[in-house]
């Protein structure tokens, strides 16, 4: 890089003609610095206290005769638990996909020039962000009480084109997907909206000035730059969803927590089985965090200030850019 090259030429020039004349003081300056580092007694004390506390906690837990560690490995790969893990994954992925679709639509609605769309999207976000997920889940689960049949009718008439019993469609799993999806959709809408508004106005103006239509500008110019901005918070949302999906156990979905509950309601090893569930939740969130970081690295392409893998082009001079990036 040119800057490095110029640095080198400068330093060569300096050593060629040392300011204090040849020899004088040059030996001293070249000597390696071996200074006594600053001591931090406070750190050592705090560290020692913490280590003691952790050891004591470990001994207390390990020495507790009521807590049977042996149970944990027995149940970690129990078929019932594995079914629960599978269902947790399905619930999370499907709800998230559902939430993404709704969220993108709501985000575009909020940014629309049409006041009705803007208002509707705003009301949706307000409602679903402002009420507890648990309430929403139980609500959808019990929707059959007030709407015994669901179907398509022509609005304001009694003409029904298609109708089904609520209880056959609103299974616990479907109610959970509906509840979790609609709830996270409201959060995703705000994430996507923030991503879109983070793309500088200049990008849209440049596209308009070239003659690109608004729709194409959104698809080719704005969204590709909004997505890398939205991915980290979307990853968080995914990890949250993984954990919020445990709430579905309340409406009789046999996901990870639900399956753990079935087991401990029989053998009463409540804490041990909760540890089993926690191990799985941790494993899944760790896995997804890792996948997220891979995705982020891929999306960082061409963006300044972020290390890229394209060392092939590193030879071109890099200038840090201010403003519009």
């Amino acid at each position: 890089m040119p800057s490095a090259v110029s640095d080198m030429t400068t330093s060569t020039g300096t050593t060629g003609t040392p300011p204090g004349g040849p020899g004088g003081g040059a030996g001293e300056a070249a000597e390696e610095i071996r200074a006594v580092p600053v001591r931090h007694p406070g750190r050592m004390v705090a560290g020692a206290v913490l280590v003691l506390l952790i050891v004591w906690l470990g001994i207390t837990v390990a020495g507790n005769e009521e807590f049977d560690f042996g149970v944990i490995p027995d149940y970690l790969f129990d078929p019932v638990i594995l079914d629960g893990v599978r269902l947790t994954l399905v619930l999370t992925v499907v709800s998230m996909a559902f939430g993404l679709v709704i969220g993108v639509v709501a985000a575009i609605g909020r940014l629309s020039d049409n006041p009705v769309l803007r208002w509707t999207a705003g009301a949706y976000i307000w409602l679903f962000r402002g009420t507890p997920v648990l309430v929403q889940l139980v609500f959808w689960f019990n929707i059959g009480i007030v709407f015994p049949t669901l179907g398509i009718t022509i609005p304001f008439t009694d003409v029904s084109l298609f109708s089904v019993e609520s209880n056959t469609v609103v299974t616990p799993l479907n109610a959970a997907i509906l509840g979790l999806g609609l709830n996270s959709g409201a959060y995703i809408a705000e994430i996507v909206r923030a991503g879109i508004t983070s793309v500088s106005r200049g990008q849209v103006e440049a596209a308009s000035a070239l003659g690109l239509e608004p729709r194409r500008t959104m698809r080719r110019i704005v969204l590709p730059q909004a997505i890398p901005v939205a991915v980290p918070p979307l990853g968080n949302e995914f990890v949250s969803m993984l954990k919020y999906s445990a709430l579905a156990s309340v409406i009789a979905v046999q996901e990870l927590l639900g399956s753990v509950e079935t087991i401990y309601s029989v053998n009463l090893r409540t804490l041990e089985l909760l540890v089993v569930a926690s191990i799985w939740y941790l494993a899944l969130t760790t896995l997804f965090s890792f996948l997220q970081s891979l995705l982020e690295r891929r999306l960082a392409r061409g963006r300044s200030g972020i290390a890229t893998v394209r060392s092939r082009r590193a030879r071109t001079p890099r200038r840090p850019r201010k403003a519009v990036a």
């Binding site: 990008q203 440049a206 730059q225």
Partner: protein, 260 residues
């Protein structure tokens, strides 16, 4: 012959353009005519409305009153039986495609390489195949002296290089008119020359240009006409050398003395 009629249609014709943001009137009746092949330079203190006026020419800003024509076509509207009808977004886009614009902050598409930046619009709007578009892009990049940066991303280029790519990108649409909005104001001083050289080349090639700038040297050497704006009005107008040497109004004289 039809040549005189074509030549007589001005590239830009502005009549009594007014524009306000709320109670702040930024353009107070601008009249300006730019002939085909002319280089019109606009200077003036910041806040004088020169950039706003330039942005009105391709309808990035809409005017409140007056009439603005590019090559005889009303910008942003259609006049039908004495009433103005707004053009639809696609029609506005089609109008803008004939005018190139270069911005102060370059506004290159950050997620695309230099080549992708240049081919995006012509690929879609001029119906070029990918191969034709890339060939065109490489020709244009050679013209602005950046043939070796075809695969670089904007963040890897200096400001001056980015601005030259932005010019190539605008030229790829084969515009009849180029608008420059303070193209060198965001550049380090040593990079200004490269961009001005490219613009000088364009002018020599006969491109019609409207240039908002603070570069008085460029105005004098390349400009065919110079306009000094202040407070949303044209306060001085004429051949650059005359205006720069003997400004008629005191305000213009004061401004020019400061930027010289």
């Amino acid at each position: 012959m039809s040549t005189p009629t074509v030549a007589s249609v001005p590239a830009v014709s502005a009549r009594a353009i007014r524009k306000s943001y709320g109670s702040n009137e930024v353009l107070r009746g601008i009249d300006l005519e730019v002939g085909p092949g002319q280089v019109q330079v606009i200077v003036g203190p910041s806040g004088s409305g020169k950039s706003t006026f330039l942005r009105c020419i391709n309808h990035l800003e809409r005017i409140d009153s007056g009439r603005l024509y590019v090559e005889g076509d009303l910008v942003g509207y259609r006049e039908h039986r004495g009433r103005l009808h707004e053009l639809r977004p696609q029609e506005v886009a089609r109008q803008r495609a004939r005018t190139g614009m270069v911005f102060q902050h370059f506004n290159l598409f950050a997620h695309m390489t230099v080549t992708q930046n240049v081919i995006e619009a012509p690929r879609h709007l001029r119906g070029l195949t990918k191969r034709e578009a890339v060939e065109l892009a490489h020709d244009l990049l050679r013209k602005v002296g950046l043939a070796d940066k075809a695969d670089a991303y904007p963040a890897e280029l200096s400001g001056g290089q980015q601005q030259r790519v932005a010019i190539a990108r605008a030229l790829a649409m084969e515009p009849r008119l180029m608008l420059f909005d303070e193209p060198t104001s965001a550049l380090d001083p040593e990079l200004v020359g490269d961009v001005l050289d490219v613009m000088r080349g364009l002018a020599e090639g006969g491109m019609t240009m409207v240039v908002v700038t603070h570069e008085m040297g460029f105005a004098r050497d390349v400009g065919d006409a110079l306009v000094v704006m202040a407070d949303g009005q044209v306060i001085e107008q004429g051949p650059p050398r005359d205006v720069l040497a003997n400004p008629a109004t005191e305000r213009a004289a004061k401004f020019l003395a400061r930027v010289h």
